[in-house]
């Protein structure tokens, strides 16, 4: 199938030109089987200008140190665990790291409660097995096994959703870098360049918490929520504009003031502190990620377009705002009311929002 018709391309396809340019310009030392040097990988993720004037776009907007730590981890043969609340671009970073390092982001195990050991190690093609007996031809390789053989980067999504006994498969694999196949009395030894990037969501800690043995085999990088309000407003605005186009919403582009306000509310509640740093706040139980801010604005726009005057007003966002903040009907409701009464009420230019929120209550 032609790649241009694909709904979503892989990173290495979408940014093939950038990767190509980087490879040409990159004359630094590359670890075994890496497509790019660590420096070039950092540039690929954070964007920058190459010596020949080629502009590399930024894939991740945020702290340079985190990306450097992540790349240095992979360069020292340690497995990387990207950790963070939902909606902080963990999978996104993992995909782009794999694309830049191995030129292939498709060796992926999607972690679920039903992930089995076969999906982590290898399975059997039973027709072949019956016809020819145990042999390499009858073996069905897992993405991890393929990555080991070829010296590529394997990705494991949602590591903490995988049952604990299946997680344990990784322990020896990560320390010995071999995968024994007792049925064939052989083993697969990882080729240089093999590494694992796992992602996990720290809100789901309780699902299948990593054993300390497994934890110790990962270097952990926590991806934070956006550092500054401006950064977050930019991300929300960009995504809302893109999604609005996709959904063909007839409303005007979102009013920047309203976006700012929603982002500010999210940030204040998330950080437990008002932006002026003067008042501490309780935080609700939900994540309040940037992704949720985007969805609040989006549904506000839909309301404004279909039931309002097409312009985003306080009462359009109020309902979905409440829904995003109040996840626990008792505790979060108290948090929200405190916020409303002690912060929103005091702001003279937020009167419309205060009224709109009180009306819903």
């Amino acid at each position: 199938m032609e790649t241009s018709l694909v709904l979503r391309q892989h990173a290495e396809q979408q940014f093939a030109e950038e990767l190509d340019q980087l490879r040409k310009q990159d004359n630094r030392q590359r670890p075994g089987n890496w497509e790019l040097s660590p420096w070039a990988v950092v540039t690929y993720l954070l964007g920058g200008k190459l010596d020949n004037g080629f502009e590399v776009s930024a894939k991740y907007i945020g702290s340079r140190r985190l990306i450097e730590t992540a790349v240095a981890t992979l360069a020292t043969d340690r497995a990387l665990l990207l950790y963070g609340v939902p909606g902080t671009a963990k999978s996104w970073v993992s995909e782009h790291l794999a694309a830049a390092i191995s030129g292939d982001s498709t060796l992926i195990v999607q972690g679920t409660a039903g992930t089995s050991e076969e999906q982590m190690r290898y399975g059997w093609n039973y027709a072949q097995l019956l016809a020819k007996g145990p042999s390499r031809e009858a073996l069905v390789e897992s993405p991890l096994l393929r990555a080991m053989e070829r010296g590529k980067t394997a990705r494991i999504e949602e590591l903490t959703r995988i049952p604990a006994d299946v997680q344990d498969t990784l322990i020896t694999l990560l320390s010995e870098k071999t995968l024994p196949i007792p049925e064939l009395a052989s083993e697969v030894q990882a080729v240089r360049g093999f590494n694992v990037i796992a992602t996990a969501n720290n809100r789901d800690k309780g699902v299948n918490e990593l054993s300390s043995a497994l934890k110790r085999r990962f270097n952990t990088v926590v991806l934070p929520v956006p550092a500054s309000e401006a950064e977050e407003v930019a991300i929300v605005n960009k995504r809302v504009a893109e999604m609005g186009r996709a959904l063909e919403l007839p409303a005007e582009p979102p009013a920047l003031a309203e976006v700012r306000r929603v982002v500010q509310i999210f940030r204040e509640l998330r950080n437990g502190l008002t932006e002026d740093g003067k008042t501490k706040l309780k935080s609700p139980s939900g994540t309040l990620s940037t992704a949720e801010a985007i969805s609040v604005i989006n549904s506000g726009m839909a309301l404004a377009a279909h039931f309002g005057d097409g312009l985003l007003h306080a009462n359009d966002v109020a309902a979905s705002l409440l829904g995003a903040v109040i996840k626990d009907p008792v505790q979060d409701a108290v948090v929200w009311r405190e916020y409303l009464e002690t912060v929103v009420k005091e702001r003279s230019d937020w009167k419309d929002l205060y009224r709109a929120c009180r009306e819903i209550e």
Partner: protein, 758 residues
């Protein structure tokens, strides 16, 4: 310039500089050492070799007649000046301080302050001299030029974390020369003048040393000053500049210092971010071992605090730090790389445990010591001065002191004693007896001066140079570390009693922060009465309570929001405790007399007054409070009682409601025949079985009434229910007669004018 002079531009508290400086001094073998330090501190230099003078210590200069005018010149073991001083003193080399004497600096500042005060009294306080000039942070500019986020990181990387030092000083001189040529002119003319004076004085001292015939003169000064000293123009210009400078009497001493204090800017205008890291750099000159030993110490610290940290993790942290250093093109891992590696490999990316590392291994908690025979610290002098002016003599014998707070003298003494208590100098103890409780005008103290209090004074001197400033700093520090609302509201009270206006804002701020995070409504309710007292009566002591008021408002709003959740599902004992809290808070809120707060509070009461929303006792109490506050009329009360005492309600719950509603007084029953007949009817309708079960509860309720009330109730019960008591005749007020005692009352309460009554 003369060949005899060798300039060593350093960065204050730079271990790499210190190491290079020692190497250079070894090579040079100077016969005279000149150090950038106030010339009038030379007298106390002999203490440098005293074995009880252990850094970090600070050279402390203060104006003799005004200890508030003080400056500190801190030294750590890794400070180049400290190492140079020891080097010279150990070898008996002539050592001189060449900076402008503090006597002139203080006098100049004093003159400027007076000028400001004369020009614009209100603006003077608002504009402290800002440190925005290039000379304030020359390294920041160099770092920026080199593409680093801050100058400290650049300098650490370029100088402190390297080992080769031979060419260092030439390089620094060159860099500073270039920087000073490009630097924009100093924005503040005063700062410019002071810089010029200081450098003129340094040059003057250089000339003097040359004249004294020294052959190899080593000059150790801040890097910024090197270009100014590199050439010695005609002495006349400098002498002109320095002529006729104002002067004040200055005393110098050594004071113990902490690494934490080193972090902030001080007498040098130069603070360092990571004193303990620098100490580590100083003790581990070998770059290969530096990272490993530091990580091993971090591992030990983690384990001591009960956090898992295996050797394997430290090995991985070392590898990652080296990988990061390579990625950032640095020869060896620096502090940043080590911290990031630790956080990633040991702490699961969590930043919280890193605070431990920051406190102990980056900033450090080392405290210096000074010998007992150094001159007195300014705090001591300030205390002596105040003791003299307030005629409070320190005596070993116990003595009782009755202070009348309406007199300025009494108030000032009370302030002093409260401040000393805040500082942990327990000279006086307040006896809270019959005549002395908060809000009245007398305080009774028992005073006893014990010898160990002198030590307490020296210990307290780390907080500031005057009693007031030290008490302020101490209170603020305590507020920051406190985690209990009750302790904080007490601290607010103490701060107000001690009259520390500077501390009020930070302490109440801390209280507010804690209150807004407190999920325990009982804690909030407990804090309300104390704070209300302060807000209501604080003005008697002439203190500003506006901040407290703001906190209190927030506290009441939060308590009101959380009240109904906090009152749900309480058992008997918890309910009666909560009832007491609600009563106390209600009394406080009524005392506060603020319509907005009262409204919030009454709405909250309305929510818990609905029968079934909480334990009967609390519902009843809330209903009564609403009635007493005129928020609900008798009709509403009757509806509530009807619901609570209806047949379907469990008799025990109804009795509890009644206990809460009657609130230890039967007056309301006697006042309204409807309520009376409802209670009467309810009691009469109880089955024998039920009556037996609740009779104990009812006895408890009715036993709280006064004997007269009980008698009247009994009599009433005998009469038919329809009979009513005649309403008492309306009282006629004579406003003129009522006004007569007001002036006397005002005098008794110490209110200057009648407007203070409200």
């Amino acid at each position: 310039m003369s060949d005899a002079i060798h300039l060593f531009g350093i960065r204050h508290h730079g271990p790499g500089c210190a190491r290079s400086l020692l190497q250079a001094l070894q090579a040079l073998q100077p016969d005279c050492l000149l150090i950038e330090g106030p010339a009038d501190a030379e007298a106390i230099l002999p203490f440098v070799l005293h074995e009880e003078l252990q850094p970090p210590v600070a050279l402390l200069l203060h104006a003799e007649d005004d200890p508030r005018q003080a400056s500190f010149y801190p030294f750590a073991e890794f400070s180049p000046e400290w190492q140079a001083l020891r080097f010279a003193r150990e070898r008996g080399i002539e050592t001189r301080f060449i900076d402008l004497p503090a006597a002139h600096q203080f006098a100049l500042e004093q003159a400027w302050r007076e000028e400001d005060a004369a020009a614009a009294p209100e603006a003077a306080a608002a504009t402290p001299e800002s440190d925005a000039g290039l000379s304030g942070d020359p390294l920041g500019w160099l770092g920026q030029a080199a593409g680093y986020a801050d100058g400290e990181a650049w300098w650490n990387h370029m100088v402190e974390e390297r080992c080769d030092g031979q060419q260092l000083f030439a390089a620094i001189a060159e860099a500073m020369q270039a920087l000073r040529e490009q630097a924009p002119a100093e924005r503040s003319p005063r700062r410019a003048r002071r810089e010029a004076l200081r450098e003129a004085h340094m040059r003057k001292c250089l000339r003097q040393a040359l004249k004294d015939g020294y052959q190899r003169i080593a000059v150790v000064c801040g890097a910024w000053h090197v270009p100014a000293l590199a050439s010695l123009p005609a002495a006349k210009v400098d002498n002109e500049l320095l002529k006729g400078l104002p002067k004040t009497r200055v005393a110098a001493t050594w004071a113990p210092w902490t690494y934490r204090n080193l972090c902030s800017a001080s007498g040098y205008g130069a603070g360092v971010d990571a004193p303990a890291w620098y100490a580590h750099l100083w003790r581990n000159p070998e770059p290969g071992q530096r990272a490993v030993t530091w990580l091993a110490r971090a591992a030990g610290l983690f384990r001591a605090e009960g956090l898992d940290c295996s050797s394997a993790q430290i090995i991985e942290a070392t590898r990652l730090a080296e990988g990061l250093a390579a990625l950032r093109e640095r020869p060896a891992p620096g502090l940043e790389e080590l911290c990031e590696a630790l956080q990633t490999t040991v702490c699961m990316g969590d930043a919280a445990p890193m605070r431990l590392i920051r406190d102990r291994l980056i900033v450090g908690d080392r405290l210096g010591t000074v010998p007992a025979d150094v001159p007195a610290v300014p705090l001591q002098r300030d205390l002596e001065q105040q003791q003299k002016s307030l005629r409070l003599k320190p005596q070993a014998a116990q003595k009782t002191l009755d202070l009348d707070l309406r007199e300025p003298g009494g108030l000032a003494r009370s302030h002093l004693l409260h401040r000393l208590n805040l500082l942990g100098i327990r000279w006086g103890e307040q006896t809270r007896g019959v005549v002395s409780s908060k809000g009245t005008f007398h305080e009774v103290w028992s005073l006893q001066w014990q010898p160990e209090l002198a030590v307490a004074v020296i210990e307290a001197s780390q907080w500031g140079s005057t009693v007031e400033s030290a008490a302020t700093a101490r209170a603020v520090a305590r507020a920051r570390s406190s985690e209990s609302l009750a302790e904080l509201s007490e601290l607010v009270d103490d701060v107000l009693l001690a009259n520390l206006p500077q501390a009020v804002a930070p302490v109440t701020r801390a209280l507010e922060d804690l209150a807004s995070l407190a999920t325990d409504v009982t804690q909030l309710l407990d804090a309300v009465p104390a704070l209300t007292r302060i807000a209501r009566y604080g003005n008697v002591r002439q203190t500003d309570t506006g901040m407290v008021r703001h906190v209190l408002d927030g506290l009441i709003t939060r308590a009101a929001i959380g009240l109904s959740a906090a009152c749900a599902a309480l058992h008997e004992d918890a309910a009666s405790a909560m009832r007491e809290r609600i009563r106390a808070a209600d009394a406080a809120i009524r005392l506060l007399d603020d319509p907005a707060r009262s409204q919030d509070w009454q709405q909250a009461l309305g929510r818990i007054a609905a029968f079934g929303a909480s334990h009967g006792l609390i519902c009843g109490q809330a209903a009564r409070l609403l009635f007493d506050a005129d928020a609900e009329d008798l009709d509403a009360c009757a509806v509530r009682m009807n619901l609570a005492l209806s047949r379907s309600v469990e008799p025990a719950a109804a009795a509890a409601w009644l206990e809460g509603f009657l609130d230890q007084s039967a007056l309301i029953l006697m006042h309204d025949p409807r309520l009376w007949s409802m209670v009467d009817g309810w009691l009469a309708a109880l089955s024998d079985d039920h009556f037996e079960r609740i009779v104990a509860l009812l006895r408890r309720t009715f036993s709280t009434f006064s004997a007269a009330e009980r008698r009247e109730l009994g009599e009433r019960a005998r009469r038919p229910a329809a009979a009513t008591v005649a309403a008492p005749a309306a009282t006629r007020w004579d406003p003129q007669r009522a006004a007569l005692p007001l002036p006397l009352l005002a005098r008794l309460l110490g209110l200057s004018n009648d407007g203070a009554f409200s």
